[in-house]
Each structure stands twice: as C-alpha cells, then as structure tokens.
Symmetry: C2
Subunit: 157 residues, 2 copies
C-alpha cells in the first residue's frame, strides 16, 4: 500500500489536469519585451456557476504521508497556484478503485484539476502553505468524497 | 514628479481592485481543520469573454523605477498572483490625468485589478518574476495605453 511520489510533468498529469508553469516556448512577448505571457494554460470549467478566486492557507505536511481520503468536484475545475517557490504534493486517482498517483511539484508549478478529477486534499510541503485557488462559485453540492479502508502511504521519490 | 511607494493595504487599494491574501478572519475551515479557505476574494469580471489562466514571467525591476506608461483593460478584470514570496510593485491611477499611486506588496499578497483600472505593467522586485494571471480571454481589443510625456519616478518608501 505504498506509493512513491514522482516529479510532476505535464505528460503524466494530462489525464487529470493541467500543469501551470512557464516552460512552454510558445509564449507571447508583452510589455516591450519585459514579460513572457504563457497564455491560457488551464481548461477552466465552472459549469452553471461562475469563476471565483480564493486563498487557501493549509498546514504543511511531510513524508511519509498517509492518504485516507480523496475527493472530487463534479461541477467544476479547481486550479491551485502556490504563492511560495516550494514544492507541494499532488495526489490524483482515475477512480476510487484505482491506485492513486502522487506527484511532487518543482516549486515553479501550479496545477488545474479538470472537472470531476479525484484528488487528495491540498498538501503543501513547506510553510506558509498559501495558494490561490480558482474554482467554481455557485449553488448546490459540489463535493464527493471517498475514504480508503486502509490508508495509502505516500513516500518521497 | 516623484512618487513614494507605500505598503499595499486593502483599504487604500479598494478604489482600484482587491488585495488577495489570507488576513481576513472570516475564513472557512476545510479539510478536517487543516486548511483555511478565504473565500471568493476577487471581483472577477470577464465581460463577454471567458476566464483564462496564464503564467506571466517578467523581468525584475528595482527602485527608482521610471513610469512612462499606464494601461487598462476595458473589457475585464485582471488578477495577479505571485508564485514566490517576494514583494512586487503595484502602480494604479484613477485616470491618466491623476497622479499615479504606487504600492509595494508584503510578499504574501496578490491583487485583482477591477475592470477598466489604469495600471502600470507587471513589475516584480525579485527573480523569478512568475505570476499566475486570471483575466479575460475573448475576441476584440482589450487594451488601452497612456504614455506620460515625462516619466514619474517611483521610489521606495
């Protein structure tokens, strides 16, 4: 029941969401050449709601990390942008029956979880665990949870 | 023609936009008490377009900073979330005829410029100047610029 966390890459993460970083070469040069705009990187989806921007302040975690719960938001996507240059842990699963996958960001990456993606709760690895979160604001329930009978142990790669 | 940059506060910034931080006491406790959700902090407005999430990578600047240009986006708001815990410079103006105001963030603040707010270009004060930007993606022009005949000199407070 052990899972090794791997470096986050756009390719490995593609089935679950978008990696938000400044590594692609197809940027637009703006502000008289002083700024590179890596444009429109996330498949945002707010369903019947609207976009909201919130700040999450989460307690830092450490390895080994016991994963006992995953959740998903059936009505919209959810983007997480770290406000410090430190890695955080990203856990996703194709379904509650599949083995979860664990990734560690490189400190210059955010993520956007596509609508309905099963994921672990926000798990910073450093303090302060400040993130901007862009997700759906709207009426009605938008949270499903699955609790594992036996926790998965996530370890550093 | 000198302007002193002041610490950014929500009160002083209110006529221009929202300060995005984790200082308000009306957060929601989520994830079994491990995370504070400071909910829906920005007056987002995408007009006839849609929300987009981009990453800006800007060259760091330093004081004194010569301000020769302001711009605005008449069709939507624009939020800037720093991806490192370092201050950045925020410049806004009520109009091209008014004296601009300059603010320095405390390293744990993002901003959301309300639709149509005149502002300076993105000016990080540290490297890497990485920001997540949430703004309108849509057809048609969405940029107006004003060039000052004589630059304003922005100095540290």
């Amino acid at each position: 029941m052990q899972i090794i966390a791997r470096p986050l890459t756009a390719l490995a993460f593609a089935p679950f969401g978008d990696v938000l970083d400044a590594t692609r070469s197809d940027f637009r040069l703006i502000n008289a050449g002083m700024c590179r705009r890596h444009h429109d990187l996330a498949r945002l989806d707010f369903g019947d709601g609207r976009a909201g921007l919130s700040i999450f302040h989460a307690e830092p975690r450490s390895f080994p990390y016991a994963l006992d719960l995953i959740e998903r938001h059936p009505e919209g996507s959810q983007a997480f942008v770290p406000m410090i240059d430190a890695p955080f842990l990203v856990i996703v699963a194709a379904s509650p029956q599949d083995v979860p996958l664990a990734f560690v960001t490189n400190g210059a990456q955010g993520i956007n979880l596509h609508r309905g993606t099963w994921h672990g709760v926000l798990t910073p690895l450093a303090s302060p665990g400040l993130f901007a979160v862009i997700d759906r604001v709207g009426p009605g329930p938008n949270l499903q949870e699955h609790r594992y009978p036996v926790p998965w142990m996530i370890t550093a790669g």
